[in-house]
C-alpha cells in the first residue's frame, strides 16, 4: 500500500477504532492479543451481513413505494406501518415455497448458479468503509478486489442460464455475461482515474483524500465524467433499467431467473439488491466523499472548541459518518429507482454500442486527461 500524502496524514484524524478498544478490553480480562483478535473477527462480518440484508429490505420497500409514487399509486400499505413489512412478507413467502429443480436441468450447476452470484457481491462488502476504521478489512488492493469479485458474477449468471435448460434462461444468461463483461472495462477505467488521483487502491485512503475541504474536495468535482460513467456502468452491472436486458420480462420472461423458484430465486433477488446498494455505496465512497461531511469535522470541532480526540466527538463523528455514507448511498438508490421509471430499456445492440463505442473511449480519454492534469497540477489532482 502506498502511504497517503503527508498533507493528508496530518489532517486525517485517527478516528474511532473499535477493534483497538475491544482488544484492550479483552486483554484487560486476561485474554491474549491473538485470542482477542479471533474473538473480534466475526463481529464486524456479522454486523455488515445484517446491515446488508436490512439494507435490501429497506431498498425493496423504497423501490415499491417510490415506484408507486411515480405512478400515482399508493403501493404496499397494509403490512406494517406504510407497508414497511412487505419485503419481510415477500421473503418469508419465498422461504417456504417449494424448491423446484426442472426435470431436464443440470441440478448441480442449477444450484450453484445463484450461490455464485450472491457470494462475490456479499464478499465485496469487505471493503466498504463507513468510517475511518469502520470496515471489515482495510485491504491494500481495496477497490481492485471489488472489480475482480464482480467479474465472478457473470459466470454464475451464465451457469444458471445454461443449467436451466430453457432458451429464455440461456439467452438471459448470455446477455448478462455480455453486458457484465463490456461494462466492466469502462467501470475499471473510471476507477483507475480515481486511484491515480489518490495514489491508493484502498477505499479508506480514497475517502480520506477527498475529505480535506469537505464538499469542495469531493472527487465528483474533479471527475464529473468519471462519476457519470461509473454510475451508468454500475447500473448496467446491477442489471437495472435501462439496462435490464438479461431479465427483460417482455421478451425473455425473466431471463436466467425463469426456472427458479423459492429460496434460489430469493438468492438472485437478494443478490441484485445487495449489488445495487453496494454500487451506490461505492459511488458515494469513490466520488461523494464516503463518510465525510459536506463541512469538514475538524473545522466544526475547532469552531465548537472541542478536541477532535475527545471520546464524545469521536463517537459522534463515527455515527454521523455512518449516517452520511448511508444517506449518500440511498440518494443514489433513489436516483436509480427514479431512472427505472423514466428511461425505456435499450436494445442489446444499443447497449453494446453504448458500452464499447461511447463509454470505453470516453473513459480512456478521461483517464489520460486525469493523468495529464495530475502531472500539470499535482496539488489539486493528487501529486
Amino acid at each position: 500500500m502506498i502511504p497517503p500524502a503527508p498533507v493528508l496524514l496530518a489532517l486525517a484524524a485517527p478516528g474511532l477504532d473499535l477493534e483497538l478498544s475491544f482488544s484492550q478490553a479483552m486483554q484487560g480480562l486476561g485474554l491474549s492479543a491473538q485470542l482477542a483478535h479471533i474473538l473480534w473477527l466475526p463481529l464486524p462480518m456479522l454486523l455488515v451481513l445484517v446491515a446488508a440484508v436490512i439494507g435490501v429490505l429497506v431498498t425493496v420497500w423504497l423501490e415499491r413505494k417510490i415506484s408507486a409514487a411515480a405512478q400515482q399509486r399508493i403501493g404496499p400499505e397494509y403490512a406494517g406501518a406504510l407497508g414497511i413489512l412487505q419485503p419481510m412478507a415477500d421473503g418469508l413467502k419465498l422461504l417456504v415455497k417449494e424448491d423446484v429443480i426442472p426435470a431436464r436441468a443440470d441440478a448441480l450447476l442449477f444450484t450453484l448458479g445463484p450461490v455464485l452470484v450472491l457470494i462475490p457481491v456479499i464478499l465485496s462488502w469487505l471493503i466498504v468503509p463507513f468510517g475511518q476504521n469502520l470496515l471489515i478489512s482495510n485491504v491494500g488492493i481495496g477497490i481492485f478486489l471489488w472489480i475482480s469479485l464482480s467479474s465472478i458474477q457473470p459466470i454464475g449468471l451464465l451457469m444458471s442460464g445454461y443449467a436451466s435448460n430453457n432458451k429464455y434462461s440461456l439467452l438471459g444468461g448470455l446477455r448478462a455475461a455480455a453486458q457484465s463483461i463490456s461494462y466492466e472495462i469502462p467501470l475499471a477505467l473510471s476507477v483507475l482515474a480515481i486511484v491515480m488521483m489518490s495514489n491508493s487502491l484502498s477505499t479508506v485512503d480514497i475517502v480520506q483524500q477527498q475529505n480535506t475541504a469537505g464538499l469542495l474536495s469531493w472527487n465528483v468535482w474533479r471527475q464529473p465524467i468519471g462519476f457519470l460513467i461509473f454510475w451508468i456502468c454500475a447500473l448496467a452491472e446491477c442489471e437495472r433499467l435501462p439496462f435490464d436486458l438479461p431479465e427483460a420480462e417482455e421478451e425473455l420472461v425473466a431471463g436466467y431467473q425463469t426456472e427458479y423458484a423459492g429460496m434460489k430465486f430469493a438468492l438472485f433477488y437478494l443478490g441484485s439488491y445487495i449489488n445495487l446498494i453496494l454500487s451506490a455505496l461505492l459511488v458515494s465512497v469513490l466520488y461523494l466523499g464516503g463518510w465525510g461531511f459536506p463541512i469538514p469535522v475538524e473545522w466544526l470541532a475547532s469552531l465548537l472548541g472541542q478536541s477532535i480526540d475527545s471520546p464524545f466527538v469521536q463517537v459522534f463523528t463515527g455515527s454521523m459518518g455512518i449516517m452520511m455514507t448511508i444517506i449518500k448511498a440511498y440518494l443514489l438508490v433513489f436516483l436509480a429507482i427514479l431512472l427505472r421509471w423514466t428511461t425505456p430499456r435499450v436494445r442489446i445492440d444499443q447497449l453494446l454500442d453504448l458500452g464499447w463505442k461511447f463509454l470505453l473511449p470516453i473513459s480512456l480519454v478521461n483517464l489520460l486527461f486525469t493523468a495529464a492534469l495530475k502531472l500539470a497540477f499535482p496539488l489539486a489532482f493528487g501529486g
Binding site: A70, Q72, L338
Partner: protein, 215 residues
C-alpha cells in the same frame, strides 16, 4: 480533418441532447412523486356511478305488456319474453321474462324503447359469479334493486372527478353538502322557470301599458 471535427461535434451534440432529454424525463417522473395517488381502495372505497351509468338492468314485471319491443331493438335479441295468448280476454299473459347479463352488452336500447318504462338501468356493476349461468336473471332477480354505494354502511363513497367542487382534486373528506362545479340539472330547470316567469310578467306589463296608450 474538418469532416472529422464535424463528426466529433455532432457526436458531442447528440450526447448532450440525450442527457438533456434524460433530465427532462427525470423531472417529469420527479414531479409525479408529489401528486396525489389516484387509487380507489376498492372494496372499502367505491366511486359513485354517474347519473346515466348503464349498469345491470332493472325490470318491473307488473308494468310489462309483453310487446317484445326490447327483443326487437336488442342487437342480439337477448331478452326472453315468455307469454301466452289468453283466448278469452284476447290479451297476452306474461309468464316469465329474463335477460342473460353474461351476454348483454349494456347498450341500453331496450330501456330506450320500452313503451311502458318497465325497464331501467341501475348503477350495479358487480356482476361476478362463480358460474356464468347464474348471470341469467329472471323477472324476480331483475326486479331487485341494487345496494346504492352511498347508502352502503361498509363502503366509503367517493365522487368522480367531474362531480367534485371547483378546484378540488381529492375526493376524500369532502362534505356531501358541497356541490359540484357548475349547476345541477334541477337548478338549471329552476332557473329556466324563473326566467320564463319573469318574461311573462314583463310581457303582461308591456301589454297593459300598450292598452293604456290605446285608451
Amino acid at each position: 480533418m474538418t469532416s472529422f471535427l464535424k463528426k466529433v461535434a455532432d457526436y458531442t451534440r447528440e450526447a448532450v441532447d440525450a442527457a438533456n432529454y434524460l433530465a427532462k424525463g427525470l423531472s417529469v417522473t420527479f414531479d409525479h412523486m408529489r401528486r396525489r395517488p389516484v387509487t380507489v381502495q376498492y372494496p372499502y372505497e367505491k366511486l359513485i356511478p354517474s347519473e346515466r351509468y348503464r349498469g345491470r338492468i332493472h325490470y318491473e314485471f307488473d308494468k310489462c305488456i309483453a310487446c317484445e319491443v326490447c327483443v326487437r331493438v336488442c342487437p342480439i335479441n337477448l331478452p326472453v319474453v315468455d307469454w301466452v295468448m289468453n283466448k278469452e280476454t284476447k290479451k297476452k299473459e306474461l309468464r316469465n321474462y329474463s335477460i342473460d347479463f353474461g351476454v348483454c352488452i349494456f347498450c341500453g336500447n331496450c330501456v330506450e324503447y320500452c313503451p311502458t318504462n318497465c325497464l331501467s338501468m341501475t348503477e350495479e356493476y358487480e356482476l361476478s359469479t362463480f358460474d356464468r349461468h347464474s348471470l341469467n336473471f329472471d323477472n324476480v332477480a331483475l326486479g331487485r334493486l341494487p345496494t346504492s354505494v352511498t347508502t352502503d354502511p361498509s363502503v366509503h363513497p367517493l365522487r368522480e372527478l367531474a362531480y367534485l367542487p371547483k378546484g378540488v382534486m381529492d375526493p376524500h373528506d369532502i362534505p356531501s353538502s358541497q356541490s359540484r362545479a357548475g349547476k345541477l340539472p334541477s337548478e338549471i330547470i329552476q332557473q329556466i322557470n324563473q326566467e320564463s316567469a319573469l318574461d311573462k310578467t314583463t310581457k303582461n306589463l308591456s301589454n297593459i301599458s300598450a292598452a293604456e296608450k290605446d285608451n
